[in-house]
Subunit: 280 residues, 2 copies
Amino acid sequence: MNPRHIARCAQIAMILEVSATPKPGNVDRDHDFPDVTYGHFLVSAIGVGPVFERAAMSNDKVGSLIKEAVEESTKWNGGRNTHFGTFLLVMPLIMAAGRGDVCAVNEIMQKTTAEDAIEFYKAFKCVDVCLGSVDDLSVDDATSTNEIGRRGLTLYDIMQISAERDGIAQEWVRDFSRTFAGARMLAEKVKEMSTNDAIVYTYLTLLAEQPDALVQKKFGSSVAKEVSRKASTVLKEQSIDAVRRFDDELIRKRINPGTTADIIAASLFVHLLEEHDEIA
Amino acid sequence: MNPRHIARCAQIAMILEVSATPKPGNVDRDHDFPDVTYGHFLVSAIGVGPVFERAAMSNDKVGSLIKEAVEESTKWNGGRNTHFGTFLLVMPLIMAAGRGDVCAVNEIMQKTTAEDAIEFYKAFKCVDVCLGSVDDLSVDDATSTNEIGRRGLTLYDIMQISAERDGIAQEWVRDFSRTFAGARMLAEKVKEMSTNDAIVYTYLTLLAEQPDALVQKKFGSSVAKEVSRKASTVLKEQSIDAVRRFDDELIRKRINPGTTADIIAASLFVHLLEEHDEIA
């Protein structure tokens, strides 16, 4: 598949994800956060195009490609963290798509190196990411990268260590199972509703199925579980007003299920790769 | 300037233009038309990236570059006309920027050929454009392209013939004066308001200054003048509620000042070329 086509599918996935509304708790076309706006997400998605194109032609160096995407994104959006989690998910998927089969993403992850891990750690320094430390390796600690080299940890190893409490890392070590499930859900839903609504309801379904990892880190496990329980209730009501009320509540409490939004962006990318006609 | 940087500035200009709200009468992040949605504009802006990059490296063939942009845009948005007028404006500007000076756009236009005119006519066939015929040359008539060749008319000649009733053609033959004025206005306004509001008020100012050519073609001269008079009144009120009421009225009457929106997109491009930090 053409690298430019793959890159544009990934960019459109990011644009459609952030535009879909109401997407409870997150930035969307009608909701800015005080420090990060809808516009910052849009310019980031446009800005990273050339890095995505290079990724679609690359067999390795996923760590430095993630770092380059973060650098490019922050160059255009004034240093905000808009897509860190999304880049972690879509970058190996873009590389797998470039090799001819997005489903073979596991091959990309398995062959990561310690250099990938070190480059990934450097990417943290560009933005304020809520991920915390990996075991005794702190992202704030300059000696961490030396420690990674010394212990020969690959980026995949880092993801394995983090998988228990990080929803993105979990995707890496579980073959992107939620990402692909989201893609299948989107493909079904767009047959009976608008793309916007298909994104909103797929997002709610993923959120109902599993507590959001970012919410868990910021607010603790019981709040994350309660958010998922409410997502489940809202889904049963099948009313856009109920979705809006849920959105208002999360926005008021500043609870943003950002990991679920990242996974939806990756699901959209997989979905768009297969059918890009009439996607808006 | 780097062709990739130039292309992304043009894409971001298109994305910011369509996202700005309320932009009276036009598609924005809160308003879809029945047949063309906000999403169709977004995917078109992402889709044309590679054509813009080629344009930023090209010294000639503006006609076929416009045709390629229309083809690429419609491939991604299901055949809608989202950006025909915008492409006519930004393409020579992108080429001039690629040569080092966006203000020297006149050089690009002056050296267009009959082949450019023929390619431009072919672009019409991709989408439903409200432009009408140029003198005795009809865009619906297959013999028009032969006639252009026979008479040796360049694309610039076509624009000169059309300038009296077409606002885009007028920009071509008047050195993009409204586009550059809009860029200067944006640069001033972003110092004191959000980018969104700067776009909205620059749009209203351009609309107040000159009746919109698309409105004139669709609804006649007196309606176009009345819309401009109202834009002027709304500007004096300096109230976002007044802008919203004006938007509601135009949307209800399906009056869309599309030429003014196209010029704003081109103004944003010129503005972004110079300062792309903190643009969202």
